[in-house]
Amino acid sequence: MEKYGLYLGCNIPFKAPDIEQSFRKVFPALGIEVTDLPGAGCCPAWGTAPSFDLTTWCAVSGRNITIAEDLDVPIMTGCNSCFGVLSEAKHFIEADASRKKAVNEKLGLINRQFKGTSDIYHISHVLYEKVGLDKIKESLKYDLSGLKVAVQPGCHILWPSDVYHVKEKNSFFPTQLKELVEALGASAPHYSRLEACCGMGGMRSTDVEKSLELFKTKLLSIKEEIDPDCIVTTCSSCFLQFDMSQKTLKERGEIDFEIPVFYYTQLLALAMGFDPANVAALCVTPRDAIIAEIQSEARKVREQEPLMTLAPSIDR
């Protein structure tokens, strides 16, 4: 069984632990062993060390990476920002011998050393490249046919593509998340602002109004062009923005609709039959109705093996 170190970051364990739970449910069921990275901290977020000092950024990221190196596992993370920050830091360290030396001097203070033996993946890379669409299809207990999904891959999984070793065929017109959604039976039509930024992150902390305006432009493109049943993302920051900010806009009377939002592995876990109380329990934008629809009797896949053989209990 392939084994990955699960890098949690900040948002997922503290704001959306049901996403964390969805990782812990779906990956073992799909044949991927997930191990914790004890003591891992912040990646560090763009607004922290990366905005203060390049070497400090690389050292803090490097510390996280060495935890995986010590366990001899590659890293997988569910947060686009973490993926971007860790990948870029690794690139900076490896591209410049003097920086590597400086970083290892810093890490030496805490008895660590960056070796570069652990690659960094996004959970959607592991699902798309390592698990594969066929295996995902085989694992489904519910068929999502007829469901229309707007996909939101997010930015940091796409660019700068020269730093990432899993690449989209065209980073401006990404298809991996679309294919992952289609593997569940749902459709994922194109909308024009597919690769546009959701406005979360540093922009939101700097000026929430500007962030909301950018978000609204994107949301309206989704609503007006494809009017989906739900929005699915593989970025925890995008998830939070879509989940929180629709409510704000609705309360202000700027929009008159709300579209349920899922992290991809939440939707996958639901389609695999896991309990929504574990894997999709926390949200601001209501999604009870669509969860009930997803796990309805009519959608049950016939001749399916009992769930337990697919998903051995990993209760901790």
Partner: protein, 170 residues
């Protein structure tokens, strides 16, 4: 708008400093504007990002921009880097400038909280999430630095021995 007084010493100083902070591609810029055409920050109303920031730096306006808030609207999405025809990597220039601004403590108070969180718990974003975690069937304490004193010490050591430590934020 007052005229920009061009001063070659100031220009050279500006280029040298931005490169030292990590904006190494700044001199490759031909001011085509492709970066700003796709920048979500520019679109959202943070005009002094990407090409305009680079232009101002190339005209020697290094210290003049210290209070500019546009740079903090950068999402680090790197779409600029992906479209840049000259390999400038504009996002790295923006972050290099932020590092100068940070060294002058020219950032918002909300950003201070993130730094203190990072120093205290190892997480820039941290809230006590025990009940939420238990609700979805997870242990109350996540296996991260938040509940690991040794990990926190390590992160604090790294931060103490950095230019961030010298700013007196912690």
């Amino acid at each position: 708008m007052p005229a920009i007084v061009l001063d070659s010493d100031k220009i050279q100083d500006s280029v040298k400093r931005i490169m030292e902070y990590g904006g190494t591609g700044v001199l490759k810029c031909v001011q085509c504007g492709a970066c700003s055409a796709v920048c979500p920050g520019v679109k959202a109303g943070f005009p002094v990002l990407c090409r305009l920031l680079i232009k101002k730096l190339l005209e020697g306006q290094f210290e003049e921009l210290v209070e500019e808030t546009s740079t903090w609207g950068c999402q680090a999405c790197n779409r600029c880097t992906e479209v840049c025809p000259q390999g400038v990597r504009p996002q790295e220039v923006v972050f290099a400038y932020r590092r100068y601004q940070a060294s002058e403590l020219a950032f918002s108070s909300s950003a201070t909280t993130s730094q203190m969180n990072l120093y205290g718990t190892g997480h820039a974003v941290f809230t006590e999430a025990g009940p939420l975690r238990e609700k979805v069937g997870l242990p109350a304490k996540a296996p991260t630095s938040a509940y690991d004193e040794k990990a926190q010490k390590e992160i604090q050591t790294l931060l103490d021995n950095s230019p961030m430590g010298e700013l007196g934020l912690f």
